[in-house]
């Protein structure tokens, strides 16, 4: 109880600091150099899993990741690490965000569902590629914060919802692409159902703190699904200074 209260206070402070910072311009030049260095350093995890899509790299360059990281942990925003955002959750590691986005292969006509809004960072990246981004978060305070943060940063076309992403977003289905950013023990059938024939779904697999693998789920025109396990993409757990 007391712990969650202090997290809330921290969040509140975080939001206010964000709000207090000048105008909600997207491409603010603030920390541009660090971002550039980070994006330059992102290579990939294997010869056939390189981060080489220019659109993805441009999106990563554009979105101010430090605005999605809690206040006390700003100095970690441009390291290739996941950063705690409270409630035992993290904003994903940049390499993972880049790879998932690239594997999703999104174009501007496509409708994309993200399960696990978290900080909203991945949704913001997706919003650089298409106007139709839908995102669901199960932890209430995180969902509320993300809504505010995204609005402040001017991402007003991203549609958000608080709820259990296992059931997808049936009212908006079907989707061309689905990104599940929370590790899943099985592939939720409702999400498979809401994936268009020819669609792609990306899911991280494996322990939160261990060797995670990305999995690509594809649905062919006949509606049959296959999976493909890709090489391990990350092995960085929560940073040791977690937010309590």
């Amino acid at each position: 109880m007391r712990r969650s209260a202090s997290v809330l206070i921290l969040m509140w402070l975080g939001v206010h600091v964000v709000l207090g910072q000048t105008s909600p311009v997207l491409a603010d030049s603030d920390r541009q150099a660090e971002r550039q260095a980070l994006v330059q350093s992102l290579s990939g995890v294997a010869p056939d899993l390189m981060i080489d899509d220019p659109d993805v790299r441009a999106a990563m360059l554009h979105v101010p990741r430090h605005r999605f990281v809690p206040d006390g942990l700003q100095d970690q925003a441009y390291l290739d690490k996941p950063v705690p955002i409270g409630h035992g959750q993290t904003i994903s590691q940049p390499t993972v965000v880049a790879l998932m986005t690239q594997l999703a292969d999104v174009d501007s006509t496509q409708k994309v569902l993200e399960v696990g809004t978290g900080s909203g960072y991945q949704a913001a990246i997706l919003a650089q590629l298409t106007d139709q981004v839908y995102t669901i978060e199960i932890i209430e305070p995180l969902a509320k914060d993300a809504v505010e943060r995204l609005a402040n940063l001017g991402y007003d076309r991203i549609r958000t919802r608080e709820g259990d992403g296992y059931y997808g977003w049936p009212e908006q289905a079907p989707f061309d692409r689905i990104l599940v950013t929370a590790a899943a023990a099985h592939i939720p059938p409702p999400l498979l159902e809401q994936l268009k024939p020819g669609g792609r779904m990306i899911i991280p697999v494996g322990p939160r703190w261990g060797a995670q693998t990305l999995m690509l789920v594809t649905k062919d025109q006949a509606g049959e699904t296959t999976t493909e396990s890709l090489l391990p993409v990350r092995f960085v757990p929560l940073t040791s200074k977690s937010l309590r």
């Binding site: 296992y166 592939i187 396990s229 757990p237």
Partner: protein, 821 residues
């Protein structure tokens, strides 16, 4: 206070017993604390390091021996009081150390947290041991009595944990240990001051309890902690048991359906989840009939190789998932082995949220898989074992008797003619468990004169694998049935008679070609070539070395680096390396702590040249005892896990019996100095018995498997007592021989014994991992042989007496000092 060589008062012996009970009880309770906060697999390493505090007390006391002897009462009071306080404080502090233990492997930052975590527990061990050492220094002429009180108290402490955890939470038990130490303060010296200190301590400890200041909770990275963050998540029921903390959680977003097909359109059934030590969330289904989706679950494959209306036996039930899978297939009967009584009560609805989570009619058998097969011959049409595989080989030092070659043979002997043994596990980025399982099955089949290529099938998805081993060759009909099941639910076949590579890796594509090739190598007896080139050690395990999770292979490091590039370290088998690291740390500290006081002791004893010369055999003698004792203890403990079901009950039983045995031996054989010949005789006993015991335990299992727990525990205790009794005389006899060399020498010897015990406990596991328990016991024999040879060459023989008398003169005739050799 000047206790001189007057015998210790009864109250002091009682105080010593209480502190000893607190120390060992805390040690055993720590296995639970570490398991809940972090990971139970690493508990032994952390405790071994924590026990260095014990050894450090000996080294420390050897430097201050004179002061301690002069101000014994003060030292006793202070050490007992600070032990009483630091015991709960260390646990409170440990809960605030922010570390992600499983990431220790690849995040050097975590080492700091790990170091701090260990340091927390070092402190109470140091203080408790300081009390014990002080007793030894002050009453050095009565070491037999002291040692007996120490060991008896320790045994009581060890036993108290599993007993108390049947009725109380772990937090409350710790409060009792702390109160025992507060009581020791009062008993140490009659007087107002000590009574007041004792009462004050008790007040503080009770206050900590009353404000709920001692919560033992899973670290933030554990699954339960994460789930508790979702809105409306709540714990429905929680229970500490001797081997795990069970928690039932209800939360939105619980959708576990292990092995459900991607072709299934059904949603995961309504459920709550069961956590073991805050991890391994397993679904407890809130259904009244088996949901139809069970037909699409990968473990259903077993039922396609079995006759209709099968008899089913389930092992390692965990939650209730596999029972519902079985119930879907119209079984004639379902039995399940489950050794945890509280879990059985939860599953049947007799405890917890009070609704049954099992399908109607499932019969729960209160025993482990191994004991079940030894005690109840089959046949069963489907036997199923589910294995949860921790990451990074963290369980490397944990014994597992249900996956050895012997276990496979035992189970297969109970499978009906048309039946199947199914082992469900998960697949890693680079497979480990699944390969060891097929290697083991293949070897067991060959030993039974059956061909693996006609008796093994395997099926997988992107995450799970089911190994299927049949009693008779898999004929065409059964092959067809399995193929149809795989096709219908989009699972990939990995092995089946006649399977071609083109038929594999279709629905769940793995970049390295699936598992077809490796499985084929093991099934077709090309295991050696495969193993030589593989990153992990996946050779079968046996009852002599049942370390199922030890995958580390030095020659495999290159392969790992080539395969995973920058992330290769995340795939290392870290549990194994951690044992080495701990051993190294222990060894370095031991060398320093053993060598440093030597300089001091030399100055102390300068006139007695004779003594200096004999410090080498003295050091060796006490080292051999430390190592030998732990080799025997760890060997017996890990071996008796087979008969006593869980490591926790084996731990308490064996440790208690060892302590009582050694305590009794120390009391009867340690009161007066034995002749050298008698000492050699007594030391040769454990040397001879240790290897014999391995044989006794192996055969004992066969006939004692269906005995009640009390009978099995008594059998093990009696055997352990028999070997521990002669072992118990070794330490006091050594002490009696060296005490003439000075109090600091006694403390020094005590310190050596402590350090080598720590090293011994870590080395024992490594020896058993590499060469098995037989070799470990042979090593224990060698240690006692060495002690037998060295026993007559210690300092403090006749030649030492011309030097100044280090111990206070005694008004009573002391049998030790005046005995002529």
């Amino acid at each position: 206070m000047h206790p001189a060589d007057a015998p210790p008062r009864r109250t002091l012996l009682l105080a010593l017993g209480l502190v000893a009970a607190g120390i060992v009880g805390f040690e055993v309770a720590l296995t639970r604390i570490i398991a809940i906060q972090h990971l139970h697999h690493l508990a032994s390493v952390i405790i071994a390091l924590g026990l260095l505090g014990f050894a450090a007390a000996g080294a420390f006391a050897s430097l201050f021996a004179d002061t301690i002897r002069r101000h014994g009462a003060v030292w006793l009071t202070v050490s007992a009081a600070s032990f009483a306080l630091t015991l709960p404080l260390s646990v409170i502090l440990s809960g605030h150390i922010d570390m992600t233990l499983p990431a220790l492997a690849w995040r050097p930052e975590e080492l700091l947290g790990f170091g701090l975590y260990v340091a927390c527990f070092l402190v109470p061990f140091f203080l408790g041991a300081l009390f014990v050492t002080t007793c030894f220094i002050c009453w050095s002429g009565h070491i037999g009595q002291l040692y007996a009180a120490d060991l008896t108290g320790s045994a009581a402490g060890a036993l108290s944990v599993p007993l108390a955890l049947q009725i109380m939470a772990l937090e409350n038990l710790l409060i009792f240990f702390s109160l025992a130490a507060a009581m020791a303060v009062v008993l140490t010296r009659a007087g107002v001051r000590n009574s007041a200190i004792g009462a004050g301590l008790a007040g503080i400890v009770i206050a900590i309890h009353n404000i709920d200041g001692l919560p033992i909770q899973p670290a933030e990275y554990k699954e339960l902690s994460i789930q508790l963050n979702t809105r409306d998540a709540r714990i429905l029921w929680e229970r500490d048991t001797p081997d795990t903390r069970l928690t039932v959680l209800d939360a939105p977003g619980l959708h576990s359906a292990p092995g459900m097909s991607i072709a299934s359109t059904a949603e995961a059934p309504p459920q709550v989840q069961l956590f073991f030590d805050g991890d391994l969330g397993a679904p407890l289904l809130d259904v009244s009939a088996p949901p139809p989706l069970m037909q699409s679950v990968i473990s259903s494959a077993a039922f396609h190789l079995a006759p209709p209306q099968p008899t089913v036996l389930l092992h390692s039930l965990g939650g209730s998932w596999q029972a519902w899978v079985a119930a879907f297939h119209d079984p004639e009967r379902i039995q399940a082995s489950e050794e945890n009584a509280n879990l059985r009560r939860l599953l049947t609805g007799d405890a917890g949220p009070a609704r049954p989570y099992l399908p109607a009619g499932v019969e729960l058998e209160p025993m482990t898989a191994r004991r079940f097969h030894a005690a109840h011959p089959g046949p069963f049409d489907v036997v199923m074992l589910t294995i949860s595989a921790p990451e990074a080989g963290l369980a490397a030092g944990t014994v597992r008797y249900d996956t050895t070659v012997e276990a496979f043979r035992d189970v297969l002997a109970d499978v009906s003619q048309g039946g199947v043994y199914a082992v469900v596990t998960d697949i890693k980025a680079m497979p480990q468990h699944s390969l060891r399982l097929v290697a083991t099955a293949a070897r067991a089949l060959r030993q039974m004169g059956k061909s693996p290529s006609t008796h093994i099938a395997a099926i997988r998805d992107w995450r799970n694998l089911v190994l299927l081993v049949t009693q008779t060759s898999i004929d065409d009909d059964r092959q067809q049935a399995l193929r149809a099941f795989a096709e219908r639910w989009r699972f990939d076949l990995v092995a089946l008679p006649g399977l071609q590579e083109a038929d594999t890796n279709r629905f769940h594509h793995r970049r390295n070609g699936g598992l077809y090739g490796p499985f084929k190598a093991f099934i077709e007896d090309e295991a050696t070539t495969f193993q030589e080139n593989y990153a992990f050690d996946v050779q079968p395990t046996t009852d002599d070395s049942p370390f199922f999770d030890k995958f580390f292979r030095r020659q495999g490091l290159g392969t790992l680096r080539d395969t995973f590039g920058p992330t290769w370290r995340a795939h290392l088998s870290w549990g194994y390396l951690l044992h080495w690291a701990a051993l190294l740390i222990g060894a370095v500290l031991a060398l320093v702590a053993i060598a440093a006081p030597l300089a001091f002791i030399r100055r102390d004893r300068a006139p007695a040249r004779e003594n200096r010369v004999r410090q080498f055999p003295t050091g060796l003698y006490f080292s051999a005892l430390g190592l030998g004792f732990m080799f025997v203890e760890i060997g017996l403990l890990q071996k008796s896990t087979l008969l006593l079901d869980a490591t926790s009950s084996a731990f308490s039983t064996v440790v208690a019996a060892m302590l009582v045995g050694a305590g009794a031996g120390s009391y009867w054989l340690g009161r007066r100095r034995l002749t050298d010949r008698a000492l050699v005789g007594w030391l040769l006993l454990p040397a001879g018995l240790a290897p014999l015991f391995m044989v006794l335990f192996a055969h004992g299992f066969e006939f004692a498997a269906d005995w009640s727990f009390a009978a099995r525990a008594s059998f093990i205790s009696a055997a352990v007592f028999a070997i521990a009794f002669p072992m118990g005389c070794a330490l006091p006899q050594g002490m009696l021989r060296v005490r003439a060399a000075g109090a600091s020498t006694i403390a020094w010897a005590w310190g050596i014994n402590g350090f080598t015990s720590v090293i011994g406990s870590l080395a024992a596991v490594l020896i058993a991992m590499h060469w098995g328990f037989t070799v470990l016991m042979a090593a224990a024999s060698l240690c006692y042989l060495a002690a037998a040879l060295l026993g007559s060459q210690l300092i403090g023989g006749q030649a030492a007496f011309p030097g100044p008398q280090p111990l206070p003169r005694t008004p009573h005739p002391d049998p030790v000092r005046h005995r002529k050799q």
